[in-house]
């Protein structure tokens, strides 16, 4: 009881700090306090657990310390990846998180089983253990695969992998996993129980792969958000097993975060959860062949720079291409030069521009562009008709007017940035290839649109050079 009296208040404080951590994320002004309070919460949680374990006569401290050290040694470089690799790093982390939950669940089960501890293996506990292991291992392989797809690892297929009766096979496997789970709940101490448990773990690992295979690389952001929710739920299940309210709370916070972010992404893409998970999106796109007849107008960076220099309001619409080309620092130069000439410059941020929610904000923040100039879609659209120039940098789907008008388009109904309502549109991209959704973009064929073909970084750099020269002249 004395250890309990020691540990529980620490857990209570840690829980409060985790909650404050999320609340402070509501505003960039306080967000770093949020990280600090998250770190404090985690420190308290670990310290409290170690203290409780020590009071209960635990052991293996040297090993535990070693595991911590090793984890930190691997974690530190993982935090130094370039910002473009943040999505895959996040996915990798989910994999680690799921693995941890799965391992703890397995350890607990085997321990209780080895001791024939029928009391500990009550139906409720076994249900929680099964959920923990299922969600944990599924998250592990699913996230690994997602990370691979995002990293565009060669031997991992980017395009959705589909085969006949795919969903049926998946459901059958899932049913088998549930059946094993049910058997374990009913007979946790049967001689075959460890085998059933092993089977469950294996099925979960397989299931993670099968779930993610049919989903295209571009849907990965939504998927990693859902996997985030799964990782949180497996922590909740662990909390039920250990009757630990801190685990339950922190896991629930994580779970709801993953859920909400994926809902936001789905809404911004005007798609349903179900469609993302089982729709094999992007797989069967065919471009209407007739459209190829339409012509693009090209322009040179020189003349584009001149037009922009004379504008009152330039709205820059960044997209995935800016991220790939790492063009944000050049964009910053352009922004500075235009500002110096008295041009009002705003960034129009679409919620799903790029490959993860908030992707553009982080990149532009990295280039030290003040976040007051990053305007959300709903707020900028009213101003688009007053914009003299809309400069589209590596964005495609998020400015495709077909989403507004063409009922047959796969992105119909997705809210977009109204770049086509600006007086003049300049669009930077490398080729005539379509964007992630695989469809043509009518914006490029408008009378007012001029293409600036080339890599985003070099084209924007050229624009900046032109403006800079004009400045000195």
């Amino acid at each position: 009881m004395s250890a309990e009296a020691l540990v529980q208040p620490l857990y209570l404080v840690a829980t409060a700090l985790f909650i404050m951590s999320l609340r402070w994320m509501s505003d960039p002004e306080t967000a770093r306090k949020g990280v600090a309070s998250g770190v404090a919460a985690m420190t308290l949680a670990v310290a409290g657990t170690l203290a409780g374990v020590a009071a209960g006569g635990g052991t293996h401290y040297v090993w535990i310390l070693g595991a911590f050290a090793l984890g930190a040694a691997v974690g530190y470089p993982l935090a130094q990846v370039p910002l473009t690799a943040v999505p895959q790093r996040t996915a990798l982390s989910h994999a680690f998180g799921g693995m941890a939950a799965g391992l703890v669940g397995t350890g607990k089960f085997l321990l209780y089983y080895g001791r024939s501890d029928a009391a500990a293996l009550s139906p409720f506990i076994v249900v929680a253990l099964v959920a923990e292991v299922l969600l944990g291992f599924l998250t592990f392989t699913g996230s690994l695969l997602a990370a691979g797809k995002l990293q565009e690892v060669k031997w991992i297929p980017q395009r959705p992998v589909t085969y006949p009766l795919q969903n049926l096979v998946n459901f059958a496997l899932f049913g088998a996993a549930l059946a094993l789970g049910a058997a374990l709940v009913l007979h946790p101490l049967a001689p075959w129980a460890p085998w059933a448990f092993g089977g469950l773990a294996t099925l979960s690992l397989a299931f993670g792969v099968l779930l993610i295979l049919p989903i295209g690389g571009a849907d990965m952001p939504t998927v990693i958000s859902i996997l985030n929710a799964y990782a949180g739920l497996s922590a909740v299940a662990m909390g039920f097993v250990l009757n630990n309210k801190l685990l339950i709370t922190a896991g629930a916070l994580d779970g709801s975060s993953g859920l909400i972010l994926s809902v936001i992404m789905c809404k911004a893409m005007n798609r349903s959860f179900f469609n993302v998970l089982f729709g094999a999106f992007g797989q069967a796109q065919q471009t209407a062949a007739g459209d190829a007849a339409q012509v693009y107008k090209e322009d040179t960076p020189e003349s584009a720079a001149q037009i922009m220099a004379q504008a009152d309001l330039v709205v820059i619409v960044p997209g995935y291409g800016m991220a790939v080309a790492q063009a944000q620092h050049k964009v910053r130069e352009l922004y500075d030069l235009l500002k110096k000439r008295g041009v009002n410059v705003k960034f129009a941020i679409h919620p799903v521009a790029g490959r993860m929610p908030g992707h553009m904000n982080v990149l532009l923040a990295e280039a030290e562009i003040p976040y007051d100039d990053l305007v959300e879609m709903d707020d900028i659209n009213g101003d688009m008709p007053h914009a003299d120039v809309a400069l589209v940098i590596g964005a495609n789907d998020v400015v495709n007017p077909a989403a507004r008008t063409d009922k047959t388009s796969p992105i119909y109904g997705m809210p977009i940035i109204d770049a086509d309502r600006a007086r003049t549109v300049y669009a930077i991209k490398r080729s005539k290839a379509p964007g992630f959704a695989g469809i043509d973009n009518g914006l490029y064929f408008l009378d007012k649109t001029f293409m600036l073909f080339g890599d985003a970084k070099s084209v924007v750099g050229e624009l900046a050079r032109q403006l800079g020269e004009g400045n000195q002249a």
Partner: protein, 110 residues
């Protein structure tokens, strides 16, 4: 294995409804808090919650520290500690790294 009744909470009188209560309340809090997060910060938010989910380290410690248990159980626990720690360290560090970049118009880090 009741060597750590404090942290493990003793299964004898497991308070199922209490746990469900806490789960429900925490879910409400999560939903309400996340909905208020500025869109600006959704990427750091993902890595922050990622770090928070590494709270699984608590369970990993409990499993690792058990006395008189088969070695492989301890090994599973240690592996779980390793996994969670990578998450904790990289999650918080990268979140902070990203947040440091966000600046208001008039310069000055945050």
């Amino acid at each position: 294995m009741h060597l750590a009744p404090a942290a493990a909470g003793g299964h004898g009188n497991l308070d199922l409804m209490g746990a469900l209560f806490v789960f429900m309340l925490a879910t409400f809090i999560g939903l309400m808090a996340i909905q208020r997060v500025s869109r600006l910060l959704h990427t750091p938010l993902m890595s922050l919650t990622n770090a928070i989910s590494a709270i699984a380290v608590v369970g990993a410690i409990i499993v690792s520290a058990g006395k008189d248990q088969p070695g492989f159980v301890t090994a599973l626990g240690l592996a779980a500690i390793f996994c969670s720690t990578t998450n904790i360290v990289s999650g918080f560090l990268i979140t902070d790294r990203m947040l440091k970049m966000f600046r208001k118009r008039d310069g000055g880090a945050k």
